[in-house]
Symmetry: C2
Subunit: 245 residues, 2 copies
């Protein structure tokens, strides 16, 4: 048996998220089905760095799996790309040691959130950005972002329905870039709670619209209460950008 690590991207639009669910189209199930075809119908299991929700995209999700097949890395990539649907792309395949684990070994993750910031809609980006047609003050958003940096109990930025008990995470970096009519929010951390990035972005946008002071982010986090935080930004702007090991 050899362990293989793959970096994959997917367009989340047509998926009910990453993780297998009965009677739903998921990324995990599509890749496992492709691997099963390569293994004479044998059931295959893959392990990802973590889940992504319905509609969320990935530019650099990482998975691992074990296989008895001895195939060169490039051929793995070609074969898998032939077998997966057009909204999944296998970017790289590399042989790793048997103790590599796509989830347990994560050192950091980067998410990016794309906002289309202009009055007019853009049909051709509607599945890949969140359209915000109102004025936003980027400098106060950047000020608010500083309160997210560092190690905090992020209970206020965690959607209900999660099993996770320890809600302390460390955010290494938050950057807000403007390019043409798009605003891109980059967040890098050692891990993220359920919908944490989307809640963070929703709160930064509330500040940007002038409906909250930047300092309020501090008190929202200190409250450790999801009900204190503002709305969650929608899924289609979010990308799992890369995973570091």
């Amino acid at each position: 048996m050899t362990r293989w690590k793959c970096t994959i991207s997917y367009d989340g639009t047509q998926f009910s998220g990453y993780q297998v669910q009965p009677n739903k189209r998921t990324v995990q199930q599509e890749i496992e089905t492709a691997l099963q075809k390569m293994h004479k119908g044998k059931q295959m299991r893959i392990t990802a760095s973590g889940r992504t929700d319905a509609g969320v995209h990935a530019a650099g999700q990482v998975i691992h799996f074990d296989s008895p097949l001895s195939i060169p890395e490039d051929n793995w990539q070609r074969a898998l790309n032939t077998l997966v649907p057009s909204d999944i792309h296998i970017k790289t395949v590399e042989r790793v040691s048997d103790d590599f684990h796509a989830r347990f070994d994560v050192k950091k993750k980067e998410y990016r959130y794309r906002i289309l910031h202009r009055p007019e809609r853009d049909l051709f980006r509607r599945l890949y950005t969140y359209h915000v047609p109102v004025p936003l003050d980027i400098s106060v958003m950047q000020k608010a972002a500083k309160y997210i940096l560092g190690t905090h109990d992020f209970t206020s930025f965690c959607a209900s329905g999660t099993q996770v008990k320890d809600k302390v995470r460390t955010v290494f970096d938050v950057q807000i870039h403007v390019e043409d009519d798009e605003i891109c929010i980059h967040m890098i951390g050692n891990g993220f709670l359920y919908q944490m990035v989307r809640i963070a972005v929703g709160n930064l946008l509330t500040v940007g619209r002038g409906e909250a002071e930047p300092e309020e982010i501090k008190s929202i986090l200190e409250a450790r209460d999801r009900r204190q935080a503002y709305a969650t930004a929608p899924a289609q702007g979010l990308y799992l950008w890369q995973v570091g090991y």
Copy 2:
């Protein structure tokens, strides 16, 4: 009765083209259904500047229709945008004189064709560009484009299955722009035959890959024979950009 002119955009991905066809999802049928809801179930007909094929997008298609309703322009736009699906957007609505005709009055049309030119695929642009992963010589493509300019019988650039007898059209401008990893081909003319832009682009790309000389475009057009021309570029890169009256 008042005549209304609308500029609309649509994402062609999920449509079987513009024109109504039985049991198919089309742009025309979606807009007529929306108008019908505004007219107490009365059947409504719209007229466009011309058809677009399955998968082809529009940034500035123009339609007209007649209505007995007296509604301000902005309210028409808001009402229609509420009623059409998310892959159609009504950009403007304006009152026009009764003799305006969206098809007969066309003076010029601009099409654009987006090519993703890099080795790697990009999942997030797969529905909106044509991915060409091989080297292209832009300067010879620009040289070849000059042979398309002007008034010609474009039979060689017209897909079979068309009823049109007069295949003489005038192309006013062809431009090839490179921006980052995209090549955008702009074509402006007084009218375009069935699949003419996609065949023109397919032929320019054949030249760009070094598989034909730029001068060959001239002899292909002179042959007035579709079989002399090279392959048609796929639908998803093409946009009806604007229509001039």
